[in-house]
Amino acid sequence: MLKILKYSFFDLVRSRWSYVYFLFYLLLSSVLLFLNNDLSKAIITLLNVVIILVPLIGTIFGVMYYYDSQEFTELLMAQPITRKSIFLGQFLGVATSLSLSVLLGLGIPFVLYGLFQSNVIFDFLILIVVAVFLSFIFSALAFNIALSNTNKIKGFGYAILVWLLLAVIYDGAFLMALMYFQEYPLDQFSLLATLFNPIDLSRILILLKLDISALLGYTGAIFSAFFGTVWGSFVSVGVLVLWVVFPLWRMLHTVNKKDF
């Protein structure tokens, strides 16, 4: 498995897309930092970009990589290697290379700017952790989609749909539910609803750490009362881990059964 991981990782690291992705983040965060002069504000803007772009790139890139390396995968399967290690290796290769691009792209300008002397280092760490988690979650989802669809067009279609669902439509349904049931106490519900969507969860985790959380009013107070506790952070990280583990488990399950 490690060999395959290493192979996919270096394959991807050498590819043009990783560089583009890395350079994009590098450019974005350096421009934000050097034009804005305000670390906290820069983090808010980056948050907006991260929670939309990381999932999108994760899904598209994952699906693309799977279809691209299909022939190579089939060749590998002819070798005495377990399917588990082949696919796990490929997935980890994709996810780590994506995470690395984000990590370095965002990290280098911040470090150069003097992050270690500033007091927002913790907020920034959460941003990075969230970005890494989102990369892992959405590339796992992408592998699932690609495995279930041999038709590439269909695969890409579903990938975009999944992204759209979690990034946009879920919030729409959430908002509708809030409006529709506004007569009822909704704070527990909204807490639960955010836990079920990794993008929302990531957004809230970062927002609560920033000054802007004061705007969230009493709903925000309930959220920070929950996420501020050890139990709350444990649950939120646990949910994010589950979002990685469950698609992975399904991926391995289908891989073992699938007739290639």
Partner: protein
């Protein structure tokens, strides 16, 4: 000739009486007096009392109907040692200057103050430093006083165990200027007072309000800075208050705002700066107010109308980079928002008259939704919200139809 003689006589008498005005020295040793109270008791009207450098452990120093002038030098400290009031004064034409007073008793039943004035007229409190004050200056039923260049601070533990720095009750025509007040409950509090002026004060880090009006008509406050208070200024149940050239900044927290207007009418708010507040102005039942040439910069909400506000007029204000420019509930109620500058405005000006050709709607769909369902604020900064805000901007459905700036300015107002 006779009139001249009388005039001459009066001059002589007044000069003579001035000549009798003495200066009594108070110091720890080797002076006429070692206690301020005995000096006050011995003083005649018009006398001055010079309190020399040193620490005086005295409390409840009572000035009863005597027009005298107390002054100290650097290092003249009255230590109340947590035993009630510092000075209690009921007099007119007196002054207290250059003094330091500390350790006022904290009480949950009495309003102990460093200096307590009752029915005082034509007085001056100047250059007084108060430390660990419970109440600073407690001024009741007084008139024509000047309170200037004082530095007042408390311990700032909790709202219940702290008092107000400058507390005016039933007082008229006072001038409060150039004071710095901090770590108190309210910086400056005024109840049942009229025609007072508050200028150039710096009120910061107070637990409740920087400046607080209750039932006080016809007052003015200008050129003050209110920073990092629980709320900058609260104006409640008052009429014709004039507020200009003040700076409200960093009043940031879940329940904070720069300026709270509660049941107030006919006020004028102009040339103020609201910066980095959670809410710039909360207007609750305020009517016929004029808002002109104010800057709202980087606030969570610039202006929040809670309800029951009629005929307010916003014009030539700058709304710059606020999360929400306006939050509004209820009908339009003749409030007008024309000719302001909005940094979110994306329209164009083809005829180059300085006004945008497309009307601007300051209420975003999201701020409308948050008003309806407060829990939906949790979707702040979600992509979905950006999308519906945009679509609402293109074709308004939900946001109040008439709440429009028909002549949004293309350039920032310079005032």
């Amino acid at each position: 000739m006779k009139i001249n003689f009388i005039l001459f006589f009066f001059i002589i008498v007044s000069v003579a009486s001035h000549a009798q005005n003495r200066t009594l020295n108070v110091c720890a040793q080797d002076c006429e007096f070692s206690s301020i109270q005995t000096a006050v008791d011995q003083a005649k009207p018009g006398d001055s009392i010079f309190i020399k450098k040193g620490i005086y452990k005295e409390h409840d120093i009572f000035i009863d109907q005597k027009s005298i002038h107390l002054y100290g030098e650097k290092g003249s400290i009255v230590d109340i040692d947590h035993k009630g009031y510092g000075f209690k004064v009921e007099a007119s034409d007196f002054s207290i200057t250059n003094l330091s007073i500390k350790n006022v008793e904290v009480s949950y039943t009495s309003d102990y103050a460093a200096i307590y004035l009752f029915k005082c007229f034509d007085f001056k409190l100047k250059n007084i430093t108060l430390e660990k004050a419970f109440f600073g200056f407690l001024i009741e039923k007084s008139k024509d006083g000047v309170v200037e260049q004082n530095d007042i601070s408390g311990t700032g533990q909790s709202e219940a165990s702290s008092g107000n720095a400058i507390h005016l009750w039933n007082s008229k025509e006072m001038t409060i200027r150039d004071n710095e007040v901090y770590d108190m409950r309210d910086g400056i509090y005024i109840e049942f007072g009229g025609d007072n002026v508050f200028e150039n004060n710096y009120s910061h880090d107070n637990m409740r309000y920087g400046l607080h009006f209750m039932f006080s008509d016809d007052n003015r406050y200008s050129y003050n800075t209110f920073q990092n208070n629980s709320a900058g200024v609260a104006v409640m149940f008052s009429k014709r208050i004039e507020m200009n050239h003040n700076v409200f900044k960093k009043n940031w927290g879940t329940a904070s705002y720069g300026l709270l207007l509660k049941e107030i009418n006919d006020g004028k708010i102009y040339n103020n700066t609201f910066e980095n507040n959670t809410i710039g102005i909360t207007a609750d039942g305020s009517t016929r107010m004029v808002y002109r040439e104010n800057d709202f910069i980087n606030n969570g909400y610039a202006v929040k109308f809670v309800g029951g506000s009629y005929q307010n007029d916003f014009s030539r204000n700058n709304f710059l980079y606020n999360n929400f420019d306006l939050s509004y509930s209820g009908g339009l109620n003749n409030n007008s928002f024309d000719t302001n500058y909005w940094s979110d405005y994306t329209g164009y000006d083809l005829d180059k008259d300085g006004y945008g050709d497309v009307p601007y709607r300051p209420v975003k769909l999201f701020s409308y939704l948050v008003n309806q369902t407060p829990e939906s604020i949790i979707l702040l900064r979600s992509l979905f919200i950006d999308i519906i805000n945009f679509s609402e901007k293109v074709t308004p459905v939900f946001t109040p139809e008439n709440l429009v700036d028909y002549q949004p300015l293309m350039h920032e107002v310079q005032w």
